[in-house]
C-alpha cells in the first residue's frame, strides 16, 4: 500500500532531477529571503545561483540548533509572518527554545508526508487512530493528526497522559492504531495487565512509535504485550516534525521521504561524509519547505543509510533506527533535555556546589530523572524542614526550565565520582 505510489517508487534518476530542481529553488529562496543564509553564502563565497550538482551539497554551510536559537524567534523564516499559518516550538523550554513556522502549503505537504508514513505502516481510512502524543507546541500530536485525517482514518486526538483513560477510550472507541512514544506503549501494556485486560480482546492492530530512541527488543516486547505490529517513524520539528521517515511493514529501516528531504550522513567530528552504509550524524536539507527551509541541518541523531532495495517496492532510501546522539542531549519522556540547562539552573541557586550528576532510569517503562547535587555542609545539616523546602525550590526551578519534573537529591561535598577533576555529568541507566 502506497499513499503516493509514483513518488514513493520513483526511479533514482528522476528523483535526483527533482531533488536538484527543488534544491536550486530552495537555495535561491534562502539566499534572497533569509539574511542568515545570505551572510553564510557570502562568507563562503558561494554562488548559490550556480549550484549544479547534488554532489556539491557538501560545499553548503551547516545549520545547527544554536543557529536556530541565535535567530529566535523568527529570524530564519523565509516568508513574512502574514504568510505563516502555524508556529511550533521545540520541547517546551524557555530561553533556549527554537521556533519553526509553516505556510498553508507546508501544512499540506506535512499532512501528505505523514499520510505516507501512516500508509506504509498499514493504517488506512478504516482505522480508528488514537494519537497519544502531546498536542501543542510539540510537532508530534498535530503532525500525526493531520496525516491521519488526510488518509481518512478516524482520529481520536486524546493527547498524552492519563493512561487509564487512554485504555478506557481504546476499549470503548475500538481503537485500531496507536500513536505515541514506544515507552508509553509499554506503560499502556503494563497498565492493561494491572487492570486485568487482555490486549487480544482490544481492536488494536498497529502502532506508530517515535519521538525517542528505542530498540528491537522494545519492539518485540510491544508487539507481544499489545499484540500489534509496532513501526518506527522519525522526524524533528526543525525540518518539519514527524513525516521525515517511516517504516513500512517490513519493519526493517525507515524510508526517508527523499523528494522532500535531502539527507547526508557525516562524521560528527570531521564533518565529512562517512563511507556509504556507515553510521554517522544525519544531516537534512529541506527541499519543499516554504516558511522554514533548512540547509544541511545537523540533527545530532546517529544512524546509517541502508541502500539495499526494500521488498516493499519503495525506492526511497531507508535509514536505520536512530542509535544515539552526537551530543549530550537526553530524551526524557519525549522531551529534549540538555545537561547544560540543568547546570544553568543549579548555578543560579545559592549554596550549591558546581558538581552535580544526572541519573536517568527507566522504571516501569517510564523515564525517571534524579539530579544529585553536591551542597555545602551548612545546608546539608540544617533543619529537615528547611532542607525539604530547598529541594522543592530546586525541583520547581528545574521543572519550569525543562518542562518535565525531576527528582532532586542532596549529597555531601566531594561525594560524586569525578573524572579528571570534573564530575561525570550524566549516568543513563536506561537499557534500550
Amino acid at each position: 500500500m502506497y499513499w503516493e505510489a509514483e513518488k514513493e517508487r520513483m526511479a533514482r534518476e528522476a528523483l535526483e532531477q527533482l531533488q536538484l530542481e527543488r534544491l536550486q529553488s530552495t537555495l535561491y529562496r534562502v539566499g534572497t529571503h533569509v539574511p542568515f543564509y545570505r551572510r553564510k553564502f557570502e562568507e563562503l563565497q558561494l554562488d548559490y545561483d550556480n549550484f549544479r550538482d547534488l554532489r556539491d551539497l557538501r560545499k553548503l554551510p551547516f545549520t545547527t540548533k544554536q543557529d536556530l536559537r541565535d535567530n529566535y524567534p523568527y529570524g530564519l523564516f523565509a516568508v513574512p509572518l502574514r504568510d505563516v499559518v502555524r508556529v511550533h516550538s521545540s520541547s517546551g523550554t524557555t530561553g533556549v527554545a527554537t521556533v519553526v513556522g509553516y505556510t498553508r502549503n507546508d501544512i499540506k505537504n506535512w499532512s501528505n508526508l505523514v499520510a505516507r508514513v501512516l500508509t506504509a505502516a498499514g493504517v488506512t481510512a478504516d482505522d480508528v487512530i488514537q494519537i497519544a502524543f502531546g498536542y501543542g507546541l510539540f510537532t508530534g500530536g498535530f503532525g500525526l493528526h493531520y496525516g491521519a485525517e488526510r488518509i481518512g482514518a478516524s482520529v481520536i486526538p486524546i493527547s498524552s497522559g492519563n493512561t487509564k483513560r487512554q485504555i478506557q477510550i481504546m476499549q470503548d472507541f475500538k481503537t485500531t492504531a496507536l500513536v505515541c512514544t514506544p515507552s508509553y506503549a509499554l506503560i499502556i501494556a503494563d497498565t492493561l495487565m494491572e487492570m486485568g485486560i487482555n490486549p487480544s480482546g482490544l481492536s488494536l492492530r498497529v502502532g506508530l512509535f517515535g519521538a525517542e530512541p528505542w530498540s528491537e527488543a522494545m519492539r518485540r516486547e510491544i508487539n507481544e504485550k499489545l499484540s500489534i505490529v509496532a513501526t518506527d517513524n522519525y522526524g524533528l520539528s526543525e525540518v518539519m516534525g514527524p513525516g521525515v521517515a517511516g517504516e513500512c511493514r517490513e519493519c526493517n529501516g525507515l524510508h526517508i521521504n527523499e523528494d522532500h528531504f535531502l539527507v547526508e550522513v557525516i562524521d560528527p567530528v570531521t564533518l565529512e561524509p562517512v563511507e556509504p552504509g556507515e553510521t554517522g550524524e544525519l544531516v537534512i536539507t529541506t527541499l519543499t519547505k516554504e516558511a522554514f527551509p533548512m540547509i544541511r541541518y545537523r540533527t545530532r541523531d546517529l544512524t546509517r543509510l541502508l541502500p539495499e532495495p526494500c521488498p516493499c517496492g519503495r525506492t526511497l532510501t531507508r535509514m536505520e533506527r536512530i542509535t544515539g546522539r552526537s551530543d549530550d542531549m537526553l530524551i526524557i519522556k519525549g522531551v529534549n533535555v540538555f545537561p547544560l540547562q540543568i547546570e544553568k539552573v543549579l548555578f543560579e541557586i545559592d549554596g550549591i556546589e558546581p558538581h552535580y550528576q544526572i541519573v536517568v532510569d527507566r522504571e516501569n517503562h517510564s523515564d525517571k530523572v534524579t539530579v544529585l547535587v553536591e551542597v555545602q555542609e551548612a545546608i546539608f545539616f540544617d533543619v529537615m524542614k528547611k532542607q525539604r523546602q530547598f529541594i522543592e525550590h530546586i525541583k520547581t526551578r528545574l521543572a519550569s526550565e525543562l518542562g518535565i519534573s525531576v527528582d532532586v537529591k542532596l549529597v555531601e561535598e566531594k561525594t560524586l565520582e569525578r573524572t579528571e577533576g570534573k564530575s561525570k555529568r550524566v549516568v543513563d541507566n536506561r537499557k534500550l
Binding site: E21, D49, N50, R52, K108
Partner: protein, 241 residues
Amino acid sequence: MLKVRNLNSGYGKLRVLKNISLHVDGGEIVAMIGANGAGKTTLLHTIIGLVRSTEGVIEFNGRNCRRMAAQDIVASGCVLVPEGRQVFAPLSVEENLILGGYVLQKKEGRPAMARELDRQYDLFPVLRERRSQLAGTLSGGEQQMLAMARALMSRPRLVMMDEPSTGLAPLIVRNIFQVIVRLREEGNTVLLIEQNAKAALAIADRGYVLETGKIILQGPAEDLLANRDVQRAYLGREKIE
C-alpha cells in the same frame, strides 16, 4: 520525457537563462509562468534549438539534444507552437496543416498524413469549416487553433506552447485552454508558457516560476496557486481570508 539541467543560454554576451533545471514527464501539462522578459520564450527557443545554449543538458526521451538542429528536434517529436501564432497567412488552412505534417508524411507516407489531418479537424471543427479559407483571414482565436493543429500534425510527443492566450478575448482563451486539456487527455504532453498564470496553473499539473532567467519556485500547480509570492506577483491579488 524532457529533462533540462543547468541550462544557460542567451544572445551574444547577454546571459538570459541562468542555470535552469526542469523536467516534463509523459502525459503532464507543465506550466512555466513569469513576467515579460523573464526568459520564457528564450527557454522554449533554446530547447527547440533556435537559440544556442552555452551550457547544460537538454535530454529529450533520454537523448541529449542540446546541440541538435531544430528540424531534427522536431523530427524526434518535440514541437513548438510559437507566440503570436505565426501561421502562413497567404496559405489556406489546409495548406498550413499539410506543411505541419511534412515530417509525418516523410516518415509514414501520405495516408498517415491524411489521417492526421482528419484527426485535427475532429479536434478543431472550426478549422474543417474553414479549410480552404486563407489563414490570414482567420480570427485570432482561430489562428491560435490553426497554429496548435499545425504543430500537432507531426504527431509530437511533446508540445511546447508559447503564450497561446496572447491577444485573445477571455472567452477564446478559455476555449484554447480547454483544447490543451483535451490534448492531454488524448495522451499528449504539454509544456505551456504563459503570462496568464492563473489560467495556466488552473489546467497544469505542475508549474515553474521563471524570474529574470532563473527558476525561483516550482511545485504542484495547486501549491503555486496557493503560494503567497505567486499570488502577489502573478495572480494580481492578495487572497482575502
